[in-house]
């Protein structure tokens, strides 16, 4: 959020409504109304005086209406822009012409009640809708006596209650008596999968977030007993099943598959009645009941549809096509996130990048025509070369740090350390106004070394580095002491010792800061072309998108033909023809002037680094060397063949084989009795994970069978029917059409035997609690997806994989298509099992991300790299051998072997420096000198510090 706020090319218009959209793709005129904030954001310093004095209470909508705030307020300290605003609905001055207290207390005179709404017209090329989701109808909550009994809360309220910056500072208390509940129940599917309140779809995210919330509660109070009531457990995302299982095991949650009808209360105690899976009626008492609410379309979906001229689907979400999941019905307008359909963070982020790629395809001709390039002031050599003048800023991080560590004590302690000129405490060091103040303080006190005692440099160092550069300091002159993750969070039970440790950490950081040396920033030229590995649908679409954005693409496919797994899909659950789509896409790719296709080709070698990769492509006898800037890995996956089942291709087949049969042999007639077995080999049998697509695939084929031959009996044996999102519609339809769904427990999976050439399935019926036999004509296994074996490519690119063989993303939520290697992206089944529509979104996202370095032409290489002191180097080449990134080469300098670092490939891991027998290698920002000083800084007695201070004064 802060990054977006700081980008000179993103203008954030808050409190703004879109009134009208005219024109077409590439040339929209958008009329907006900017509603008054009543506080001038240029003057506001976010000091909070207005809120302190504002006498008018207002319900805090940010905290799910759980507490009160003021009419003049900021929702949360990290808000972007970090500026206060006045809520016109409750403000006394705006409603009754009285008060005006805030005007008098505001130091910078930022408050202006004369502001009027502004109407403006913007000219834009593309529009991306990311309006998010709305709340579920109150009716769905009232069914569970929400509003009638105060101890029935919904999950969004719970989210605020468990949040440390929430109204209770993370204490989970129940609203009726403010006591800690001992027994908590979660009811799933509230406002989802519920026909009675017109919300028939599944919200996809609630199963996972309920377990997350329950885990957070358990972390706070381990003695709480938590019971979760599920219909189906739908944790279909990558790695979700495993996390779910781990959480249940670790925290001992009780999982009950039942849907309580209603909440009951007797003598102030809440009770739930439910029918168990074996059919017995049970009643249980709870202190607090949490309703896991689903995601609805935005409340003003109809208005959005009218203003933007887009169509909505039957559930009031933005209508998109299965094969173009990000495009709305109006060209040039894209939709991402929960307005397109209920989805989780990774998928929303993928769609976001995908929409950026689409916008970039549309507008690539105008690239760089209206962008602003951020310029930094030149480095202030005089300031930097002087004696170290250290400024220390100790961050409260709200209550994250200040709740445990005595921040003021740390601040005062630091003042006495040698070299420290200024020591201050700040509420949020990373908030935009704090950064502004940091700049001012640097100028005022002539600081040339900064120590921020706050959180992890992993997340925030680049932000502070950027701030330093803005005022002419070298980016290396920042040192962070992590007193949050490594102190306040882990020692929350012992504030006194935690404060001591915080002092130690800060003292060590100050010691290191004294020895910091400047780092050099360097740019690397980028070869503006991409290598796409894999000619399946993910690779094809990525290649097409990158080419459409104006860059050369080399597409490599090991097989004879393009298309991959999609060639085997004959129809889609939504009714589109996948073959037509594939043919069209292949044609577009083949005829694209910027795409060069290599079929029956393998990658022999890839070397280089972001911006400058060199690869050898072998095609039969011939091989070709190409240069490219980025790599998109779309190596795909394949159908898993489980060994435990008698798969014979005749009576026992897989869903894909069934699909081919249904497509070909509809005339031959469909067998009379068909059984499908879900999770055959998946979810803990042979494969650990859920393959996400098989439930929907089974529904698709089952419905097709019913369409071709309505009298055929279809049985689906399942563990959890994962018809998430709008797929729930088809699950409903299938049940209405008389397809039998039978659940089996995880530890009693069905067994197939062949008797008289016909499969007989023996399965455990939960309701009857006994084993049954089912004789069928055809048994279909819903098998999982495994990644293609791409060990060579993975090794060449140094990509980590999950234990299941899928390539790992850099961050599961925030960077879902990037890998840990810069300039390498992973899309499609190589990333994880997912249905076609998600593969398409991901392919676009990969293309969008890949285009960033290509479009920039130059990329800045992170300056923390190793450097070799040639005088000290003895040429032993230990470093070159152990470097995991092959970033060190041995060169001859005056007939002697010397190590040399390829700076653009170096990741700054420091392994070489730690192995160098003559200490010839230093890593930027972590020089031997500085580290030793930091170590010496540990456990200095207060006495010594004072003495040192005296010495330095003399």
């Amino acid at each position: 959020m802060v990054e977006a706020g700081r980008s000179p090319n993103i203008e954030i218009l808050t409190l703004t409504e879109v009134l009208e959209v005219e024109g077409g793709a590439g040339d929209f005129r958008v009329t907006i109304r900017k509603n008054p904030r009543y506080i001038d954001p240029d003057k506001c310093t976010a000091c909070g005086e207005c809120m302190k004095y504002c006498p008018r209470l207002a319900v805090d909508t940010y905290n799910a209406n759980l507490n009160f705030t003021r009419a003049a307020r900021i929702d949360f300290p990290q808000a972007v822009p970090t500026k206060y605003y006045i809520n016109p609905e409750v403000c006394l001055r705006l409603n009754y012409e009285t008060c005006q207290l805030c005007v008098n207390v505001c130091g910078p005179k930022a408050i202006n009640f004369d502001q009027k709404p502004e109407i403006k017209t913007l000219e834009v090329g593309a529009i991306i809708l990311a309006t998010g989701f709305g709340s579920v109808p109150l009716k769905a909550l009232e069914k569970f006596c929400y509003g009638k009994y105060s101890d029935v809360v919904h999950s969004i309220e719970m989210e605020r209650l468990t949040c440390v910056s929430g109204p209770t500072e993370g204490e989970v208390i129940r609203p009726s008596d403010f006591r800690h509940p001992k027994k908590i129940a979660y009811i799933q599917c509230v406002g989802s999968r519920d026909l009675s309140c017109n919300q028939p779809y599944c919200s996809s995210v609630c199963c996972m977030y309920a377990v997350k919330q329950a885990s957070v509660i358990k972390e706070h109070k381990p003695e709480v007993e938590i019971t979760l009531f599920f219909m189906d457990i739908r944790t279909q995302g990558k790695g979700f099943d495993e996390s779910f299982k781990n959480a249940v095991e670790r925290y001992g949650f009780r999982i009950i598959r039942a849907r309580p009808g209603k909440v009951d209360r007797v003598n102030g105690k809440l009770a739930l009645n439910y029918v168990d899976e074996d059919g017995s009626v049970r009643r249980e008492y709870f202190d607090l009941i949490v309703l896991s609410v689903g995601l609805s379309a935005p409340e003003d979906a109809e208005k959005l549809s009218k203003v933007f001229g887009i169509k909505l689907n039957e559930f009031r979400f933005a209508k998109t096509n299965y094969l173009s999941p990000i495009e709305t019905s109006r060209p040039g307008i894209y939709v991402v996130g929960a307005f397109q359909g209920p989805k989780d963070i990774p998928e929303s982020v993928i769609q976001g990048s995908g929409a950026a790629a689409l916008a970039s395809e549309l507008l690539h001709e105008g690239r760089w025509t209206s962008t602003v390039i951020k310029k930094y002031s030149p480095e202030d050599i005089e300031l930097m070369s002087g004696e170290p003048r250290i400024g220390v800023f100790v961050c409260h991080c709200g209550v994250n740090i200040a709740g445990v560590v005595d921040v003021k004590d740390v601040r005062d302690y630091v003042k006495n350390l040698p070299g420290v000129v200024l020591s201050e405490d700040v509420l949020f060091a990373c908030s935009q106004d704090s950064l502004e103040q940091l700049k001012e303080k640097i100028k005022k006190y002539k600081l040339n070394r900064i120590v921020i005692a706050s959180c992890s440099p992993r997340t925030h160092e680049s932000l502070f580095q950027d701030t330093l550069r803005e005022v002419g300091l070298n980016l290396a002159f920042i040192e962070m002491a992590n007193i949050r993750d490594q102190c306040a969070w882990v020692h929350s039970d012992d504030p006194i010792k935690a404060t001591e440790k915080a002092k130690d950490l800060v003292r060590m950081a100050v010691a290191k800061a004294r020895k910091l040396t400047p780092l050099e920033l360097q740019g690397v030229k980028v070869t503006p072309s991409a290598l796409v590995i894999g000619g399946g649908v993910a690779g094809l679409l990525s290649a097409f998108s990158i080419a459409e954005q104006g860059f050369e693409v080399y597409l490599v496919e090991k097989e004879k033909e393009l298309g991959g797994n999609l060639r085997r899909l004959k129809f889609l659950i939504t009714g589109e023809d996948p073959q037509l789509f594939l043919k069209d896409l292949i044609n577009k790719v083949k005829n694209h002037p910027k795409i060069k296709i290599y079929t029956e080709a393998v990658i022999e070698n890839i070397s280089g680094y972001v911006g400058n990769y060199t690869s050898t492509i072998r095609r039969g006898e011939a091989s070709e060397i190409i240069n490219h800037g980025v790599v998109v890995v779309a190596t795909g996956g394949k159908e898993y063949r489980p060994s435990k089942y008698p798969l014979d291709g005749k009576n026992v087949i897989t869903q894909l084989e069934l699909e081919e049969r249904l497509d070909k042999g509809a005339k031959r007639g469909v067998p009379k009795k068909i059984a499908m077995i879900q999770c055959a080999g998946s979810r803990g049998e042979e494969l650990k994970y859920c393959s996400k697509v098989c439930c929907v695939q089974a529904l698709k084929n089952a419905l097709k069978i019913k369409e071709l031959s309505p009298e055929t009996e279809v049985y689906v044996l399942y563990m959890d029917m994962r018809a998430y999102g709008f797929y729930e519609k088809y699950y409903l339809e299938a049940r209405k059409k008389g397809i039998h769904f039978i659940r089996f427990p995880e530890d009693k999976r069905p067994i197939i035997e062949i008797q008289n050439k016909k499969p007989v399935i023996k399965f455990w019926d939960i309701l009857l609690q006994e084993e049954l036999e089912l004789k069928v004509d055809l048994c279909v296994l819903s098998v999982g997806i495994v990644a293609e074996d791409v060990r060579e490519i993975v090794n060449m690119l140094k990509l980590p994989t999950t234990e299941d063989g899928f390539i790992m993303e850099a961050h599961i939520k925030l960077r879902p298509v990037e890998t840990v290697t810069d300039g390498v992206f992973v899309v499609g089944l190589a990333n994880g099992p997912q249905p076609l529509t998600e593969v398409l979104a991901q392919a676009r996202a990969g293309a969008g991300k890949a285009a960033i370095p290509l479009a920039k032409e130059f990329i800045e290489v992170p300056p923390i790299v190793a450097s070799v002191d040639e005088v000290k180097c003895i040429g032993c080449s230990i470093c070159a051998e152990i470097c995991p990134f092959s970033a060190i080469e041995m060169v001859k300098v005056e007939k002697r072997k010397k190590a040399q670092v390829i700076k653009a490939a170096c990741k700054g891991c420091g392994i070489c420096a730690s192995h160098c027998p003559v200490f010839a290698i230093d890593v930027g920002g972590f020089t031997l000198d500085a580290i030793l000083e930091q170590v010496r800084g540990f456990r200095k007695e207060d006495q010594e510090i004072k003495e040192e201070k005296k010495v330095s004064e003399i």
Partner: protein, 131 residues
């Protein structure tokens, strides 16, 4: 020690699923007999409860219009009126038998009704003793 008042509750299975724990605040000995539907409660069931030593009998049915079997609770009402006549004949106050309509699965209403009924019975007993 006074002998505790015994209340026999005859109710429909769907009316509620209250358990001992819900009813612990109600004084007296409570005995719950569940029927598939309140329409299935016969006059003899009511009289049998009195013979088995109940001081009062409570018949619980679903609110009108919410009965699974359409008119089960209406039937129960008819039988209760009929039983009251018999009670009068054999010399038991007719107030000792009552019918309650309880919203589906609302144990709170159920318990409250039981409390009120218990107090009523207590008064009747005191009156008897006074005489």
């Amino acid at each position: 020690m006074k002998k505790a008042l015994k209340i026999s509750i005859l109710c429909c299975n769907y009316t509620n699923l209250s358990e001992r724990e819900d009813l612990e605040k109600v004084l007296g000995v409570l005995e719950i007999k569940r029927f598939p539907c309140s329409g299935h409660i016969e006059i003899t069931d009511i009289l049998r409860a009195f013979r088995e030593g109940a001081s009062g009998v409570m018949v619980g049915g679903c609110e009108k219009g919410t009965c699974h079997n359409e008119r089960g609770s209406e039937r129960a009402e008819k039988r209760v009126l009929e039983a009251k006549k018999i009670l009068e004949e054999i010399g038991i106050e007719k107030e000792r038998l009552a019918i309650f309509y309880i919203p589906r699965l609302s144990a709170e209403d159920f318990v409250n009704n039981a409390k009120v009924f218990y107090e009523l019975l207590l008064k009747l007993d005191l009156k008897e003793k006074g005489q």
